[in-house]
Every structure is written in structure tokens, then in C-alpha cells.
Assembly symmetry: C2
Homo-oligomer: 463 residues x 2
């Protein structure tokens, strides 16, 4: 029960902090009034939650190349057309088409006794097993441990990468990055040593039965061996059993395969700038998701928030002075083809991009923004921090933009990552549990409002 307007004190603090560098253009009364309008519209009449319900409920998982991804493209286009924008269009892009095939199966076969089923899923991009594969298992926690093993210990085996995400990192994305090498390079390093496959502990801070998929890599010079994720509970169990029974085997069956590339699209909607129509600020999320999930937090939320930014600017009558574009990128999960194509076409057309923002860390309670740009640009955005203090979204500092907007880096003054509470994100990331019911309406709508507020400021003042 917190009734006291604690943020008043915080806002005051922030104003003092920036007093020496504050310019007349920042933190004006009219800006604070307009930003309040944006938040009110989002909290009273926000549409992103209902849009997300549609996307996740009627289309669901939408991996690049799938019929669902194409449905999502059409849905995105129709949904933006209803907003009465100046322009809505598709941007063609060829994408990879990997399919999982029938549900994967795996079991532990102890030396004695019955098999123990494992919760597994193929990592995205993996080759299939071509029937059943059965082999012994070698557990490793690090590349050094793998490198130090004699050939005869690893040849013909599954390499089981079981280093957990580090729970002591406060930023969960850091723990994800830190443990993610196992998923990305696991199959390559296993094959180099003559192993027949990779089993990878799911990238999750939770202890549960969901296997987490995600992209993995091959090296064209190295044999392609299958790679599967185990749920964290099952990784713990396998590790335990291995200690007692090092001779156990695992049987794995996966029917996944890579099909020829197919044509797909980025979906783009635009409000022309009233004063500087040639200067562009883009805001986006990615429309594709993994196939196991509804793709609610990853990244349905980023898509509906990006569309909501345009709706909020229109509904509040705050026509931007610079052009604002919402981009629903295709293929973030396994190729970044949409992001690359967008940047390539922007460059070819000699477009002047001022900034690009991305929301791809879930639809949780906003905290602020991470800015990838020069120290001067970071400082400029930080000056607006007091305007976000009433909304507890004022943490602005150097940070990471986003995968889809990364290719735009040379063309913009700033890549901006929308940042929200990150504690629960990796519990559900890339699993069947990433569903609509995990998204809270207020948290989602507050996020869209924060994004719209910063875009309003950039469209007015530039960078």
C-alpha cells in the first residue's frame, strides 16, 4: 500500500543532477503534459493487449517460413491499416525455413532397468537424427573441460553441456549471454571431437520441465550433428544419474530439417513527420517467434507495443515532427534477415535515419532505455530522464539496442533498447510456456507508453 508520491522526491533529485547541462528544450511543461496524455491514452484505451491476444491466440507460434508466419504478416498489415497511418507496406525478404517435424523424443537408458523419458526439443537449425540415435553421454561444464578430454572418451558420444545460467547476475540477460555459447557452439565443438550429437541444458533460471529451443550454429567445415535442449530438471537428473551410472546411454529421435528458403516480409507502418518528413525514427519488434510457443513475450509484445506507439501518437493528436515508422521484423530468431534487409534498403534509398528503437526483452514493467550511441547522444537522451520519473521508467544510460535494429547502426545516431523488468523473462523464453496469460495488461501498456513518450521527444527535438 504505497500512497506516498515517492517519485516526486526522485524527480526532484534527477532535476538537480542534470541542472548544469539541462537546456531550455528539455523537461518543459508542455512535454510533461503531452507525455501524461500518452500514458493516459495507453492506460485508459490501450490496444496492445487486445492485439496481442489476437496474435497469440489466433496465430500462435510463427517461425520464419511457416504458414503461421505468413498469417502474422497479413495480420500485422491489416492491423496497421486500421490505424489510419500515412503508409503501410510490406518489405520482401527471403528467410530460412527450418521445420521441427514430429515431436522429438529422448530417453535415458540406464545400464539396468527401464528407460527414463527426457523433456527435449531440437535446437533451431539442428539436423535431424535420421531415425533413433543412441550413445553414451559425456558431461562438460566448459570448453576447457571438453578440450582436455582424450579422444576415446568423447568419440561416438553425446556431449552434454550442463553449465547453468549464473543466478547471481542481477541482469538475467547477462546470465543468458554468459551461458549461451553452449547452445550456439555446442554442436560444432562436439563434432570437432568426433561426438555424434550435443545435449544442451536449457537456458533458463527456473527449475522446471520445459525444454528451451533457440538458434544454434554449424560450421560448414565441420560435420553437422544433431543438437537438442533438455529441460533444467532433466539436465539435473541426467547429471545425477551419470554420476551413479557413467555407462548409461541416451536415445534421441528428432525429425527436424532445413527446407529451401521462402519469401517473407517485414511489415511497416508510417506516420509522416510534419516538419522533417525525411528524418526517420523507427521502432520495432520481431514478428517471427519460435514454433514451440505462442511467442507472447518473445516478441509479440514488442510488435504490439511498436504499433501502439503509432496509435498513441495519433490518438493524442501529437503528430510527430519527424517521420515515425513501426517495423515488425521477420526472422529475428534464426537469421536476422528482416533486420538486415531493412537496413540494406534504407541505405540503398539514402534514407536519413535518426534513431531506431527495439522492444525485445518481454512486455514486463518498464524500467527505462539502453542507448547505443556516442556519449553526447547518450547524455542528450538522459536529460529527458526526469520526464519519465513519474512513470518509474527513468533509467536511461548506455546499453544495447536490439538484434533487428543492429544492422542500422552505421546509419543512425542511436540504437535504443526498450528495457523492462527482466527477472521472469528467461523462465519462459523459447518454450511452450511463453503464452498470452503470462503478460500483464498494465505492464504491457505502460511499456508502449514509455516507448511512445521517448519517440515523441526525439521527433520533436532530434538527437
Amino acid at each position: 500500500m504505497h500512497f506516498a508520491p515517492r517519485w516526486l522526491a526522485l524527480a526532484g533529485l534527477a532535476l538537480v543532477t542534470t541542472a548544469t547541462s539541462v537546456s531550455a528544450q528539455t523537461g518543459t511543461k508542455i512535454d510533461s503534459t503531452n507525455i501524461r496524455k500518452i500514458y493516459d491514452e495507453a492506460l485508459l484505451r490501450g490496444q496492445s493487449y487486445e492485439n496481442l491476444r489476437q496474435l497469440t491466440g489466433t496465430i500462435g507460434g510463427r517461425l520464419s517460413g511457416s504458414p503461421q508466419a505468413e498469417k502474422a504478416v497479413q495480420w500485422g498489415k491489416v492491423t496497421m491499416e486500421k490505424l489510419g497511418l500515412d503508409r503501410v507496406y510490406l518489405q520482401e525478404v527471403m528467410v530460412p525455413h527450418w521445420v521441427r517435424g514430429p515431436k522429438e523424443k529422448a530417453q535415458i537408458k540406464p545400464a539396468k532397468g527401464k528407460g527414463i523419458a527426457l523433456n527435449v526439443c531440437a535446437l533451431g537449425g539442428s539436423v535431424g537424427t535420421n531415425g533413433k540415435m543412441q550413445a553414451g553421454v559425456v558431461e562438460v561444464d566448459s570448453w576447457q573441460e571438453l578440450a582436455a578430454m582424450p579422444d576415446d572418451k568423447v568419440k561416438g558420444k553425446f556431449i552434454f553441456y550442463n553449465r547453468p545460467m549464473n543466478p547471481t547476475f542481477i541482469e538475467t540477460g547477462r546470465a543468458y549471454g554468459d551461458a549461451g555459447d553452449q547452445r550456439r557452439r555446442g554442436a560444432i565443438e562436439a563434432a570437432k571431437r568426433g561426438a555424434i550429437g550435443a545435449l544442451v541444458r536449457s537456458l533458463s533460471l527456473a527449475h522446471d520441465d520445459f525444454p528451451h529451443t533457440g538458434t544454434m550454429s554449424y560450421d560448414e567445415q565441420v560435420k553437422k550433428v544433431p543438437a537438442a535442449a533438455l529441460s533444467t530438471n532433466d539436465a539435473d537428473e541426467l547429471s545425477q544419474l551419470l554420476k551413479a551410472d557413467p555407462g548409461l546411454t541416451v536415445e534421441l529421435e528428432m525429425g527436424c530439417q532445413q527446407l529451401p528458403e521462402v519469401k517473407s516480409y517485414n511489415v511497416i507502418g508510417e506516420i509522416k513527420g510534419s516538419k522533417y518528413p525525411d528524418e526517420i525514427i523507427s521502432v520495432g519488434g520481431h514478428l517471427d517467434s519460435w514454433d514451440l510457443a505462442q511467442g507472447a513475450h518473445d516478441d509479440g509484445t514488442g510488435c504490439v507495443q511498436s504499433m501502439e506507439v503509432l496509435r498513441l501518437l495519433k490518438a493524442t493528436g501529437l503528430r510527430p515532427e519527424r517521420t515515425v515508422r513501426a517495423v515488425l521484423f521477420m526472422n529475428e530468431e534464426n537469421g536476422t534477415r528482416g533486420g538486415n534487409k531493412y537496413a540494406e534498403l534504407a541505405k540503398a534509398a539514402n534514407e536519413k535515419h535518426l534513431a531506431a528503437m527495439e522492444s525485445d526483452g518481454g512486455g514486463f514493467t518498464p524500467r527505462g532505455f539502453g542507448i547505443e550511441g556516442s556519449p553526447e547522444v547518450v547524455k542528450k537522451v538522459q536529460q529527458w530522464s526526469p520526464l519519465f520519473a513519474p512513470y518509474k521508467s527513468e533509467e536511461i544510460g548506455p546499453g544495447h539496442g536490439g538484434t533487428d535494429i543492429g544492422p542500422l547502426k552505421e546509419q543512425v545516431k542511436a540504437l535504443i533498447g526498450y528495457e523492462c523488468d527482466d527477472q521472469r523473462y528467461f523462465d519462459i523464453h523459447h518454450t511452450a510456456a511463453d503464452t498470452f496469460d503470462k503478460v500483464n495488461r498494465r505492464e504491457l501498456e505502460l511499456g508502449g507508453a514509455s516507448m511512445a513518450a521517448l519517440i515523441y521527444l526525439m521527433s520533436k527535438y532530434g538527437l
Copy 2:
């Protein structure tokens, strides 16, 4: 995917802010190392989540006076005894004993056609209906609207208080406070006008079917009439139907009643201060909950976090210089008897309380602390803010302490409210949906660590 240590920039900012007033004792290297130890212990070996699983799973809802509340007292005592504290004891207190009786029922009876069932629950403390009550319904949004109504319009009717919580307040507790008068005073004001009962829109920002209970009041000078909460969906439906059919009636049946007071207990565990054993810092949550729910976020989380504070101090070897007490208060929900008793006995024993902290806003991601104290004390605690920046828990400012610690106000330098993300809290507050599965392990454990860190600092430096 936020890998950049954005908090470094923020921490820098905060240090600059307080540079003029920072003293040698704040923000020392050893403090930051010790606080890191506390967080590591919580994130690697935290026990509050498993304790909460026990409390909610094996005992569940535990309204004052119920057998479950008594089980919770025993559970709290045994759980603290396992921590190897210097002292664990119970503090006797008489508490009200209200019982809901069989599940409440209500239906809308339209002029024509079949009855429509309503999701209702008695407000805590309400009298029963003594069989079925049936009456017309008058909807009001404000006291003014009720006051302006002629007697013949309201007499013998149900007054239907349907003013929603204001979704544009960013702090949800403010919206709760703002709309809560309807629940607290609804029955009194209805009876004053000759109405036979109060129907109150649930205090929730969500649109769903859960009725939210919570305490209500009577005035001994005014007739006691029954008061029930409607789910927000059903409040909307009733309001809609009333427009088309103002002559509809509602039938309500509630078997709740007030029984004689019973004996219960606060549960207290203590680590004696190594240097100043007579100076006491208390930290608590409330052990009772509403009967409908498991009482997970309200306030199982505050109880397990308070016990965890003691465990963290012991496990890290950071013996506090001042005495630290965890207090599991009884009867926050409908009487604050435990809080009153604790303060009364502390005063009678001439104890020297330095500060009291409470966690009663759920077990969500920490944001910081609200301080109820002199400006000097607030400033002193704010000086430690940079130490919390790496944990994103650095929002420290004037604020509200907590209901249970409120009675201690005259005896302490500061009442401190633990503050966490508040966006989802009122969706489940006082309903059957306040269950263990709504609590995230990391969010909960981070909260306990934040609380322990501030208590460590106060126990070292005083206030």
C-alpha cells in the same frame, strides 16, 4: 537481451548527486562487498521461496482466529527455530474471529427471464443476510451522488458502489487508496440512507471474475447491513443491465458472522546485536491472510522475506551490531491487533527501537524503500542508495512504512516500507487467485536480499 552494465552509469549519477553530503561511512568498499555476499547467498541458496511453498501449500488461507492461522503461528515458530537464532518467542494477542460460513451466493433477477449468477464474496466483517435478501439496486459513483438521491429512491435497496480504481495512477496503491472508501464506508453510508445492503465493485485494476474481499467498517450508531464485493466483470454487467432494466433486483445470501475474540500470537525471532544489543531494528510481514486465498503475495511473501533477512545475516556471517528482529504480525487484515500489541509491549518494556521495516506489497521485483521519518533520516538512508544501484533497488525516498509497524511510529526514527513492482498486485489481492504460482522465485529472493542489505547498513551505522 540487455548485456550492457547500464547500472554503472546510474550508480555514477547517484554518487555525484550525493557527493556533497556523503560521509566516509557510506558506500565503503567493505559494505559493497558484504551486500554482494547477501545477494549471492539469496540467489544461490535462498530459502524464502521454499518456505512460502510450505506456508501456502500446507496451510493456505489463514484469517485471524481460524485454525489455519494457529497452524501458521506454529509453522512460523518452528521455521524460525531451525534458523539457530538467539531467541524465538510468541507474543500473545486477542484477535477478532469473523467467519465467512458457506460460500456466498448472489444473482441478478431481471424483470423478465432467468436469474444471472454473480461472483460475490462478503467483505470482511460484514454481517450475514440471515437467509436470502432481495431488493432493487441503485448504482452510485460517488458519495455526492448518493447524498443527492431522494430517500424514496434508496430506501430498502442495495447501494451499488461502482467507481473503478483509476487506471491512470501509475502507483497502483494510490488507485487502491482512492477507490477504497467505497469498501470501507459503503455499508455505513448505505444504512444511513435506509438501504438494506452494499454491493461494492471489487478493488482491482483487472477485468475478471474474482471477487476481492477486504475489511469494511460499521458505525456502532448505525444499523449494520450486509456488504458484498462483486467481481469487476460482474460489476460491469450489473451496471449494463441496470441501464436497460432499472427495476431489476439482486438476491444475496451470505452466512458470515462475527464470533467471540480468540487468543492468537505474533511470532518473533531475534539475533542479538554484537555491539548495541539494546537497540532494535525490526522487520516484518503479516502472518494472517484473507480466507479466500492462499495469501501468497499478501502477505506470505513478507513473512518469508523477514525470516530470510535473519537467515541471510547468519549465513553470510554478518552478525549485526544492533539487534535485528523478524516479526510475523497477526491480524493485519482485520484489526491490526498484532501490530498494536507489539508496539504496546515494546513501549511497556522501554525497548529502544531504532527502525521498523515492513514488506506488505507483494513479492515482486524490488524497486527500493519508502521512508517515514524526519527529512534528516530520509536523507541518511538515501545516501546508501548507490549501494543498491547494482541490484536495481535504489529508489529510496519519503514513503509509507506499513500497517503493522505504524503503531511503532513514536518509538522509532524510521518506519520503512519495502517497495517492489506494484503493477500486478491488485489483480490478485484478497482473492482466490493470490496463490503460490503467482510468485517468482528470483523476484522474491531479490526482495529479501534488498531488505537484509538495508538492515545490515542500519545495524552498522544506526540512523
